[in-house]
């Protein structure tokens, strides 16, 4: 079956991220981490499904993770999506992941979506922007999330090092359609080096640091494959995108590949028999025609006009050694977040309960919560607003649950307070516990009178009776 609109989709589901320890482990790859009681990977997949993209390649790092993801996919999406799971060895980076799927890529353009994207931005919009500009790469940027506020973001000192993409520096043209400069998180130095050539071409550059790279890219296949041939690239975000942006006015890729790119985008020209019939010296080739029609494009910005006038002046095809790097900026009303840190995990879960609850697909009750009908609640137990309690969970008497997610088949004793926390599946919490602002992984046992505040508890951990923890990651040794 032909890919719709000549776009193929690759979802990079990752493996067991270190950043998310102790929440993810070999038993629970990042892709299956429950967010509002749904595996993380289901969010990008459902987003794609809503856009009628049903043939999806999912790349997973590591054998075990791949097996788990595959088995989950086969159950959850068996009849809805045609998902192909490709596994890569660990630690090859996003570029390595793309290299692994390169043989599968056949369509003109490739949409690469990060598996940890939780968003309601239509991927079609990005793809359409990409097509409209005929860009080599189009990246989705969204306004960086304001960090979760003082009261909720105290999940350990080690988080500070990886404040998500706070220091992404992005240069835009005045119409905010083209990406002129990008420096991503880790590579930010004190000074910003900006190419004179680009500034001269564009006239005016807007430099922003409050946009976040959402890890959704539309690539022209030929460009992408060409970049993959290069060594020493590791990450799409940190290596490939900056490389393409840097070289957009003196594109080596395009110089070599532009013709073939054009050819393949035209598709027709290569095997066109009419081309042979039509040997007429006055007939310009298809590419020339395309150029002719683009030559007349009314450039949305002076930036493009430089391109055009370059073409005009040199009167040679060499002048077309440029490619376009476009940007799609999401609107303020749209939700977009990446789950790439423990803090983000907490934030996204909270957003799923609150402002972005539309993404989850749950219908909230009048009390603004989702309580599965099989949940057994004891006397005087209250489930407040912005709560999700999944099936099979038993709550004892006089419990109080507020702004929290509770997974499947948990057994919660009497007089337990759970506030602002995420409790995954199969957890036993005994009487008189207090849990605040914490994340508790599956199969954890919390014995009575324990008190947790801002902790992350790894899977299978046992918290002894009466213990108190504050701002600590707890893992089983």
């Amino acid at each position: 079956m032909d890919p719709p609109m000549d776009f193929q989709v690759v979802v990079l589901a990752g493996g067991t991220s270190d950043k998310l320890s102790p929440l993810v482990s070999k038993e629970l790859p990042k892709a299956l981490l429950p967010v509002a009681n749904k595996p993380l990977l289901s969010y990008p997949l459902e987003l794609l499904e809503a856009s009628n993209l049903k043939n999806i390649i999912v790349v997973v790092e590591g054998d075990e993770a791949a097996t788990q993801v595959e088995s989950w996919l086969s159950v959850a999406y068996m009849d809805r999506l045609n998902v192909e799971v490709v596994k890569t060895p660990g630690d090859v980076g996003t570029v390595g992941a793309i290299r692994a799927v390169a043989p599968f890529l056949i369509s003109t353009d490739i949409l690469i979506v990060s598996g940890d994207l939780v968003s309601d931005i239509s991927p079609g919009a990005i793809a359409a922007t990409h097509r409209r500009h005929g860009a080599a790469v189009t990246a989705l940027f969204c306004p960086a999330p304001v960090s979760g506020g003082a009261d909720s973001s105290t999940s350990g000192g080690k988080d500070k090092a990886k404040k998500p993409s706070r220091c992404n520096i992005v240069g835009l043209d005045p119409t905010r359609q083209f990406l002129l400069h990008v420096v991503s998180g880790a590579k930010v130095e004190k000074d910003i080096h900006i190419q004179k050539r680009i500034v001269r071409a564009v006239g005016q550059m807007e430099i922003r640091s409050d946009f976040m790279d959402a890890h959704v890219y539309a690539f022209k296949r030929t460009v992408l494959l060409d970049v993959l041939e290069k060594e020493n690239l590791y990450s799409i975000k940190q290596d490939v995108l900056p490389y393409l942006v840097r070289t957009q006015l003196r594109s080596e890729i395009s110089a070599k590949k532009e013709n073939s790119a054009d050819e393949s985008s035209n598709g027709a020209t290569k095997e066109l028999p009419s081309e042979d019939i039509n040997i007429n010296s006055a007939v310009p080739s298809n590419q020339n025609l395309r150029w002719l029609s683009q030559h007349r494009e009314i450039a949305p910005s002076s930036y493009q006009e430089i391109h055009i006038s370059d073409c005009d002046m040199n009167k040679s095809r060499l002048a077309k050694k440029t490619h376009k790097c476009c940007i799609y900026l999401s609107g303020k009303t749209q939700y977009c977040a990446r789950l790439n840190s423990v803090q983000a995990f907490g934030d996204i879960n909270r957003d799923m309960l609150g402002e972005a609850s539309r993404i989850t697909g749950y219908t909230f009750s009048a009390q603004n919560n989702v309580v599965h009908p099989t949940v057994v609640q004891g006397a005087k137990t209250t489930a407040g607003g912005q709560c999700i309690i999944a099936e099979g969970t038993i709550l004892g008497d006089k419990c109080s649950v507020k702004r929290s997610v509770i997974g499947r088949h948990c057994r919660i004793g009497s007089n337990v307070k759970i506030v602002n926390s995420i409790v995954m599946n199969h957890i036993t919490i005994e009487d008189n516990c207090t849990i605040q602002g914490s994340v508790i992984s599956s199969n954890v046992q919390i014995q009575e009178r324990a008190s947790l505040k801002d902790c992350q508890v790894g899977a299978g951990y046992v918290i002894t009776a009466g213990s108190e923890y504050k701002s600590e990651p707890l893992t089983k040794r």
Partner: protein, 628 residues
């Protein structure tokens, strides 16, 4: 050839009766009301009621035209406002009031049988034969009177006030349907009985959708017929399938707009306060279409990706200009054809034609087609339908693709080269040339003239909001051409020094009217007043057999926000939030019509012609004649 013609007195834009004037039409000019009436009656009687729509010219009743069956009036739903534009001024108030009375009179559902019999009587071959004559003859006259009228109304600023249309009752609708059915049957009968060319045209309007409207009478079907008066029947019938002028959509007709919306791909939310006179043109909330279409990117499987891309580029104005849009569209169609496989149990000619049709309607939703694109589509559909049936898919596809290639080549690229050669011959050393906007052919003329070391200067006249001239200016300056840049409001000052005016055109209509970027008419008129020759450069594939006298009935509306905002002046914000104020209506027209009186010469690939020769070119070198 001296381009400076003697200063003819211009008494308003005159209607030239070109190409198809029949000798006895002069007699009909004697009174303005009678021919108009007879024309209206003829249209009402000659064309079956299927072609009636609420916005057609209401046929005025006249004692002498008893055969015009009352049921042919737009039943109960005509718009009195249309009468201001549509009916001759000679129509006395008493008559129109009587018409009103009639309209309400037959609005009832009791006269179904009467209507049926009336239809049968009206549609006999004999009467249709009789009636056919006035249609063709008086078409220009109707338009003339209409023109005068609209001129008058323009002066007074009197627009048609939108009167609420009455709703059709169920019985009335049924009556109309019955009448249509009867008319169709009668037409069939007539075709079977007569077989004369005149009869063969009879079913034609019947096949049309019921969106016939007042403009089509003078502009659409009227002139089309006489252009090929001696054509054989087969040819006519062949043309009928593909070349029937599409009745233009009237966007002030709520029911039709609703229907259109239902099948529309692009979300079209109508702009709220539109200028009265231009309500019949589509105008949508700008800025809502693009994001919506983009977000639906993957949902529209039926549309070929390349067509989609072109549509997006049209919508976002990335590609504009007649030639560029036409080429982009044709290249997209080429890819559609390449990727096409005939579904089982269907024939390529039929199915591919339908497929191209759906692509075209998508493109229309993105932006109304230009005349050049319409001609190209007509050509392509003609080619598709005329493919021999025994051709294999592969052969057929390659043949169509090479046809498209040849069209682009011969009609656009080589044509513009020929125009450049003709145009350059009119540039002398020391000339000061003025152009307006950014016409591609004119740009090539200047570039070529500069290349052959002619010594001249260019005045680029530009206008808000698109500032297309700046692009042209930049390219010309880069070539080393000495340029002056000014805006349209200063054109009367710069015209003193100008020796030639070169203009581009979106289309040239068969009465010589040049349909072009808004502002062109102004430049041409100023040049005429200064006795500066005006050369309009236009490829012949942009010619159209339509006749248009004003820029109201067919035009395109741009984004009103584009004119409400002044770039670089943030303090000028008086128009912010204008959409909320009911008293403000912004009009951003995209095209205007320059009467042929202001055009000294048309530069086409066939040579330099007076504007009166357009029908000849259409007849001799028209799209239909291309490789048939």
């Amino acid at each position: 050839m001296d381009l400076r013609r003697p200063n003819r007195p211009v008494i308003g834009p005159k209607v030239r009766q070109v190409g198809f004037v029949t000798p006895d039409s002069a007699a009909a000019t004697s009174s303005s009301s009678i021919p108009a009436v007879s024309a209206a009656a003829a249209t009402s009687a000659g064309s079956p009621p299927s072609s009636l729509s609420p916005v057609m010219i209401p046929p005025p009743r006249h004692p002498s035209t008893e055969m015009s069956n009352p049921h042919f009036h737009p039943v109960g739903s005509y718009n009195p406002s249309e009468q201001i534009l549509g009916s001759p001024p000679a129509l006395s108030p008493s008559r129109s009031s009587r018409f009103d009375a009639d309209g309400s009179d037959f609005g009832g559902d009791d006269d179904e049988s009467v209507a049926l019999s009336g239809v049968g009587g009206g549609m006999t071959p004999k009467s249709s034969l009789l009636m056919r004559q006035p249609v063709t003859k008086t078409a220009p006259l109707v338009s003339e009177t209409r023109k005068r009228d609209s001129n008058a109304s323009k002066g007074k600023g009197e627009g048609p006030s939108a009167a609420p249309k009455e709703k059709l009752t169920k019985a009335e609708r049924r009556a109309t349907q019955e009448a249509q059915r009867a008319a169709k049957a009668a037409a069939k009968e007539a075709a079977a009985a007569g077989g004369a060319p005149s009869v063969s045209k009879q079913p034609k309007p019947a096949t049309k959708p019921a969106t016939q409207q007042k403009k089509d009478i003078p502009s659409g079907s009227g002139p089309l017929q006489p252009l090929a008066p001696s054509g054989s029947i087969e040819k006519k019938q062949g043309k009928k399938e593909v070349a029937a002028p599409h009745p233009r959509m009237q966007f002030d007709d709520m029911t039709k707009v609703g229907k259109l919306k239902k099948r529309a791909v692009v979300n079209q939310s109508e702009a709220r306060n539109r200028v009265e006179l231009f309500r019949h043109l589509p105008q949508y909330e700008h800025g809502t279409q693009l994001p919506d279409l983009e977000s639906k990117f993957f949902q529209l499987d039926l549309i070929h990706p390349s067509v989609y891309q072109v549509g997006l580029q049209f919508l976002s104005d990335k590609i504009s200009g007649g030639n560029a849009r036409c080429i982009a569209m044709l290249l997209a169609f080429k890819e559609v054809i390449q990727d096409y496989t005939t579904p089982p149990e269907k024939t390529l000619t039929r199915d591919l034609g339908a497929k191209v049709g759906s692509c075209v309607s998508f493109l229309i939703e993105c932006r109304p087609l230009s005349v050049s694109m319409g001609n190209a589509i007509r050509f392509l559909k003609n080619r598709i339908s005329s493919l021999p049936h025994n051709l294999s898919d592969k052969e057929a596809k390659s043949r169509l693709q090479s046809d498209i290639d040849r069209f682009i080549n011969e009609k656009i690229i080589i044509a513009s080269k020929a125009i450049v050669e003709h145009g350059v011959s009119k540039i002398r050393d020391g000339d000061v040339l003025l152009t307006y906007g950014s016409p591609s052919v004119v740009e090539s003329i200047f570039a070529y003239a500069h290349g052959i070391k002619k010594n001249f200067r260019v005045v680029v006249v530009d206008s808000r909001p698109k500032h297309e001239g700046q692009g042209l200016l930049r390219r010309l300056v880069e070539r080393g051409i000495h340029c002056t840049y000014t805006h349209l409001n200063a054109v009367s000052y710069v015209m003193h020094e100008v020796t030639r005016v070169f203009l581009g055109a979106s289309s040239v209509l068969s009465n010589g009217t040049v349909y072009s970027r808004v502002g062109t008419a102004c430049v041409a008129m100023v040049a005429h007043a200064f006795r500066v020759p005006v050369l309009v450069c236009c490829e012949a594939y942009k010619f159209h057999e339509r006749v248009q006298l004003d820029s109201i009935c067919s035009n395109e509306l741009g984004d009103p926000d584009a004119i409400s905002k002044v770039s670089g002046r943030k303090d000028l914000n008086y128009l912010d939030g204008w959409a909320q104020n009911e008293n403000i209506q912004l009009l951003n027209l995209k095209y205007d019509a320059t009467p042929s009186d202001y055009v000294s010469v048309l530069v086409t690939e066939q040579g330099m012609l007076p504007p009166t020769s357009v029908p000849v070119i259409i007849r001799e070198y028209g799209i239909e004649r291309l490789w048939t």
